[in-house]
């Protein structure tokens, strides 16, 4: 009796690791199927989670095309402080775009009053990419004629505007169509207007990235760094944008759960059947004196080892897939996120654990002798 216990102990000491290794080597096909299953499961979970972490930023990036979401104005005709643009840029964040606008009312060659706006075309091009025009002005005296404004100008190639008894000669490079009040204006570069009419910008339009809270926070920072200015978020844009981004995020997360669940069930089926397949091993080990829990432990350890390999391979594969989807759909890279790894790891280990434990009841009910006899 004494001897048998000690021999059992020594056998256990050799066996747990040895058994595990040998069992893993024994049937490479079976192990490969399980590893493949867990790899796919981990890869899909990684890709979807990485994407859903990124989706907010990606969609806000897309919404840039809707134009300014914060408008900064001065109180009654006072000029902006010298450093206003720089301060607004820094308050808005690194990806903020700010365009200053100065206005003057001039007379066209038909004697109609028209608003002439001076701006930084480089910034407007980024801010208002929806403006429909043939080309953006580049030279000093290039101008854009709003479609309505152009109806009140006789000579449209060389636009003569009179202001304060002087004449400004502009070169029109095309018409501007927006469907808004921009169409009633003429746009020139800011330095041209400033030097000719001696007016300073009265409006700065800003595009801040992020959801409603981020826009509000940026607006608050602007108010703080530039007291005396009116900072108004364009609620029409900010509200819809946050809502859509929030919904897409919820949708993506729901999809992650669904798809992960489906793959999880498949892995569960594959792995638990591979445990069941080894009833004979179980019976043999049991007959040789191993306790049931020891054998189950072996199965679980095996499953964990498989899951570990699967998660590592799946994480790499999934990150690659997320990067591919990001490039394909949004034309910007989605970088791998280390923060999804623990979630994927725990999830797959759990699947593997359940897959190993699920057949436990069936195994426990087995009679080793009957099984070995071939019944």
């Amino acid at each position: 009796m004494q001897g048998s216990v000690s021999s059992r102990r020594s056998m256990q000491a050799i066996s747990m690791r040895g058994l595990l290794l040998r069992s893993l080597k024994h049937k490479p096909g079976r192990i490969a199927a399980a590893v493949l299953g867990l790899t796919v499961s981990a890869a899909i979970a990684t890709a979807m989670l990485t994407l859903s972490l990124d989706i907010t930023e990606k969609l806000h990036h897309e919404f840039r095309s809707f134009g300014a979401n914060v408008v900064v104005t001065t109180a009654d005709k006072t000029a902006f402080p010298e450093d206003a643009l720089v301060k607004i840029q820094s308050a808005g964040g690194s990806d903020a775009v700010a365009a200053p606008f100065a206005y003057a009312v001039m007379k066209t060659d038909r004697g109609t009053d028209v608003v002439v706006a001076g701006t930084d075309f480089g910034a407007v091009k980024k801010l208002d990419s929806w403006w429909q025009l043939t080309a953006w002005p580049t030279a000093q005296n290039d101008s854009l004629l709003g479609e309505k404004a152009s109806q009140f100008i006789r000579n449209q190639s060389d636009v003569k505007l009179s202001y304060d008894g002087r004449t400004l000669l502009l070169h029109s490079i095309g018409q501007l169509r927006t469907g808004g009040e921009e169409e009633s204006r003429i746009y020139v570069s800011l330095p041209t207007l400033e030097s000719f009419a001696h007016v300073a910008p009265s409006v700065i339009e800003v595009r801040v990235g992020g959801d409603a809270a981020a826009v509000e926070a940026a607006a608050a920072r602007m108010r703080e760094s530039l007291p005396g200015l009116t900072v108004t978020p364009v609620r029409q844009l900010v509200d819809s944008e946050s809502r859509i981004v929030g919904r897409m995020r919820a949708l993506l997360l729901a999809s992650v759960v669904l798809i992960a669940l489906t793959v999880g069930v498949a892995v569960l089926a594959t792995m638990s059947s591979s445990v069941l397949e080894r009833r004979r091993d179980f019976a043999l080990m049991h007959a040789l004196g191993s306790r049931r829990n020891q054998i189950l432990l072996l199965f679980v350890a095996e499953a964990m080892a498989i899951a570990f390999v699967g998660v590592v391979a799946g994480y790499l594969l999934g990150s690659l897939a997320a990067w591919g989807i990001g490039e394909l759909n949004f034309h910007t890279a989605t970088l791998p996120r280390a923060s999804v790894l623990p979630v994927v790891f725990v999830m797959n280990l759990l699947i593997a654990f359940v897959a190993a434990m699920l057949p436990a009841r069936a195994l426990r009910a087995l009679q080793p002798a009957a099984l070995l006899r071939g019944e």
Partner: protein, 409 residues
């Protein structure tokens, strides 16, 4: 005999069949719901974006040039009012009349308050003829108080109210302030009043300065941007009969003499890109779901066959031909896939409708999935089940029956 084998197989191996069935069910559910969402996501987001308000603006053709800076008129508008309120009835006659769901005529005027002149706009507040009016078309307007109900009531923009020290209950001229509105745009500096009151004050009965139109449209694509007058007659008809904002604007300009209708580009032009990206993402996720489901189904089927190698050996040793055994297994797969596929399709449709309701707050969340897709979905499920079970059936049939029987036990 064949039918009996089939029947017994399902009757005796409930656990295995259930596992494979659940895998198929879940796979088809996920694919169906993802496809339903991917096909409808464009419309849903488009609908969300319509809450940006009007997408077409109608102005008089012979309008004098607006001299507006930041919504404040530098030169008070005098005359230049070319649209008539009665013309709005003509909008009912255009091809896409039923797509117009919001109509907000506006009349700008200058209001004298004490010594200062403030900009004011007359508009419809309450819906008229079943079409949304100003309030519903500007969902981002935040009102404190009530909208004007009578001609002597007005609402004041918040920044103007602060400037003039107005409160709810104070008076502007002969009119009573019944509410304050925060809009985040130039309307914050204006007085809003009923259209009829504005017409009476301006001395131009029946006149309208501009009309904002909200229409259900199709997202803009390259064809929408074509100039209809340069298209061939056949193409023009096609363009005309598509609910683009452009074509609806074109039809409005045709119906109302002296009017110029233009789509509000900011909304229409920008959303194309966003919509493409979002539906592209959903299709990619749908693809991911398809791969996951295919994997799940084929893994489950492969397992189901692998577990029964002993059975296959027995049947072979009893004289069943390989073809017969393969036929039995394929029939089982097809049966499982059909049952799982049908239920999965149903479940997936319900799930998609539920997710649509939860996430997008759809008013009408019926079945989104076209029933005509059912055969296609089930067909794909059967094919995937076949593909998944083929390798294991083949390897099981290739094995020597005596070896399988000895090892199987």
């Amino acid at each position: 005999m064949f039918v009996r084998l089939l029947w017994e197989s399902f009757r005796r191996q409930k656990r295995r069949k259930a596992l494979a069935g659940v895998a198929i069910l879940m796979g088809v559910t996920v694919v169906t719901s993802m496809l339903a969402l991917a096909t409808s996501i464009g419309d849903r987001i488009h609908k969300e974006l319509e809450s940006y308000g009007a997408n077409i603006v109608v102005t008089p053709l012979a309008e004098t040039l607006q001299v507006n800076i930041g919504g404040v008129s530098v030169k008070p508008t005098t005359g230049g009012v070319g649209l008539r309120e009665s013309d709005l009835a003509k909008l009912k006659t255009i091809f896409w009349a039923n797509n117009i769901n919001g109509l907000s005529p506006e009349l700008p005027l200058s209001l004298h308050v004490g010594e200062t002149t403030v900009p004011a706009v007359g508009m419809w507040f309450a819906p008229k003829n079943g079409k949304a009016a100003a309030v519903a078309m500007h969902p981002w307007w935040k009102l404190n108080g009530a909208w004007p109900a009578k001609d002597d009531e007005v609402v004041v923009g918040s920044s103007l109210a602060a400037k003039l020290g107005l409160k709810t209950g104070s008076t502007v001229g002969a009119m009573r302030v019944v509410g304050m509105v925060t809009t985040g745009d130039e309307t914050d500096g204006q007085v809003l009043m009923p259209l009829s009151a504005a017409q009476a004050l301006a001395g131009t009965p029946g006149a309208v300065g501009r009309v904002l139109v909200g229409a259900r449209t199709r997202p803009e694509d390259a064809f929408a941007r074509e100039n209809p007058d340069t298209l061939s007659p056949k193409k023009k008809e096609l363009w005309y009969c598509r609910p683009y904002a452009n074509s609806i604007a074109y039809q409005i300009a045709e119906a109302i003499p002296g009017a110029r209708a233009e789509q509000i580009r900011k909304v229409e032009q920008s959303q194309g890109q966003v919509l493409r990206r979002i539906s592209g993402l959903m299709w990619l996720i749908g693809l991911g779901a398809l791969i996951a489901a295919g994997f799940a189904v084929s893994a489950a089927m492969a397992t189901a066959v692998l577990e029964r190698r002993g059975e296959i050996g027995l049947m072979r040793s009893l004289g069943a031909s390989r073809g017969r055994i393969a036929a039995l297994f394929y029939t089982e797969s097809a049966l499982l896939a059909t049952i799982g596929g049908c239920f999965g399709f149903l479940l997936g449709s319900l799930l998609a409708a539920w997710m649509g309701r939860r996430i997008f707050e759809d008013a009408a969340g019926g079945l989104l999935v076209n029933l005509a897709l059912l055969p296609a979905v089930v067909g794909v499920a059967v094919l995937v089940a076949f593909a998944g079970s083929t390798p294991s059936i083949r390897s099981a049939l290739r094995m020597d029956p005596s070896a399988t029987l000895r090892a199987g036990a």
